[in-house]
Symmetry: C2
Amino acid sequence: MTQGFAAPDMRRVDDVLSRYRQPVLDGMRAALDRPGVEHVRYMRYHLGFEDADGRPAGTTGGKMLRPAIVLLACEAVGGDAARAMSAAVAIELLHNFSLIHDDIEDKSQTRHGRPTLWTIAGTEQAINAGDGLFVIAQRTLLELADAGVPADRVLAASRMLNDACIALCEGQYADLGFEQRERVSQQEYEAMIAGKTAALLGAAAGIGAIAGGADDVTVAALAMCGIRLGMAFQVQDDVLGIWGEASETGKSASDDIRSRKKSFPVVFAFDHLEGGARDALARIYASPASPDADVTDVLALLDSVRARQAATSNAEQWAAQAIDTLRPLELNPDRREDLEALASFFVHRRS
Amino acid sequence: MTQGFAAPDMRRVDDVLSRYRQPVLDGMRAALDRPGVEHVRYMRYHLGFEDADGRPAGTTGGKMLRPAIVLLACEAVGGDAARAMSAAVAIELLHNFSLIHDDIEDKSQTRHGRPTLWTIAGTEQAINAGDGLFVIAQRTLLELADAGVPADRVLAASRMLNDACIALCEGQYADLGFEQRERVSQQEYEAMIAGKTAALLGAAAGIGAIAGGADDVTVAALAMCGIRLGMAFQVQDDVLGIWGEASETGKSASDDIRSRKKSFPVVFAFDHLEGGARDALARIYASPASPDADVTDVLALLDSVRARQAATSNAEQWAAQAIDTLRPLELNPDRREDLEALASFFVHRRS
């Protein structure tokens, strides 16, 4: 499965993710510290800063990949990470706004092992808290100006973020639509994840480069690198949604089969199965209920066309292309290696 | 009821609102014209540009007060309305994003006599379409830069818009919370409408002034004027929600009594009724069902403390203060008169 793509240097990956984690978390807490604004309590709950009764709790369960990419990109182009910190915080907040609304739209009961916000606050307040978090993310991005980023660059960053958000909403529109459809083509699937996942990672890398003072060509290349990283990340996510270990992913094994998600391996199988085998898969995916026997059948059908290998190979191609995008650029060598380690991690991760 | 506050020159009001209407509508259509982005179809439906099947339909049923205030403020400070057009369009789109989500949160079935978006598209797609419209509004505001507004002024406009949106979400949080509570104080009510209604009108006026090139003091004064106009507008809205003519407002008479809304007259009555009369009102507002007999009883209780007169007088005070705010400023005299006519209209309108 890992042919042609080296396993990640996990010490480097851990180092990258832990290097930026605390200042980003501090920035997120500061962004929600708004005296007189009460609905931030729902945001604090969602982020794991507080429990449902407003008592201090652990911290966010996310890997915080997006802010790491913002700050890596900034440093890679020779910028000071402190100048891009507002953008890193903004993008993690924005990602979480989309999770709050996704959880409502998908009727998800838990996230990172905790009850989702809408199950605690009600759908009405959860919609509104998501909106509020989106606003605070937008507002926080503009604080780049307070860290010395010139106004025209802050505007460019805000444009890039909002363009990514349009793609994000379009991806979610497509994903919700897929649930109503029997078949989804590979092309439709790719367009959906390009919006739903890759666009924001692209904006993360591009905005980091903008804040770091890069020229337009370098900004565009880093944004493209981020998009490709996002594609790799999502396809591997699809692999873990079917074959991941529950103990590592925090989700039940085969969750995506039970929920009939049209993820990469399933789309691939529909394209490569023939005759009765394809009819069998179609029959299962046309039925709403999902007994365990179905799961076993689907796994066998996916195996018969080597769907897992196809997905892994696809993720590796995206990651390789992401790294290729950076090749012509003059970047800080350490940060280039960090980005390469992240790319490798994205396709080898088990959670 | 109109003591001390002249009735509006309706020809001037009609002239103001119709002057800006078409270019703003054109700008809204252009903002939604995004090839390859499909979920804008839900926004077009909500705005009345298309019917549920995507066929061209009439046009938005709203009065489009907010964009008129943006453009009036811009011209009042000596700016060219064309420079502020993106902001006018952005604020009307943003207002409509909030209506899409409000309709979901309030379970409203109709708006302007048409089925609300969520009843057509489902809650999931309607949440997402609202998010998308919010993004497009944000993105459109940044196009002020393309009309020649300097980057630092565009940033200031975006900050002001997002600060207003935080207030908007906080107001909605409070309003949703009021539904669960027996009593709401006058102060809590005012804080709620300051967020839910007045903040965006304040941003409209302030951003118009920013785009028009005004200095900080003038921007702040116009923003304050807009906030006070918003307070007047909402209190009169509360009057119409109880005593408005269905044929004029497009809503059923006494709608707000049936829905147990804690609007100005009700909050006032709770503060001014005594003994058994207050208990009677409390009993009715504690019960979820709402027979017509209740409506008659509530109307009698409101009348007994002259709640309608109190609300009208409050709205007039806000409108008078809004006009006072502008007094020290050097403004285009025609546009000052337009703003004064709007202020008067806000408290005398019947729909």
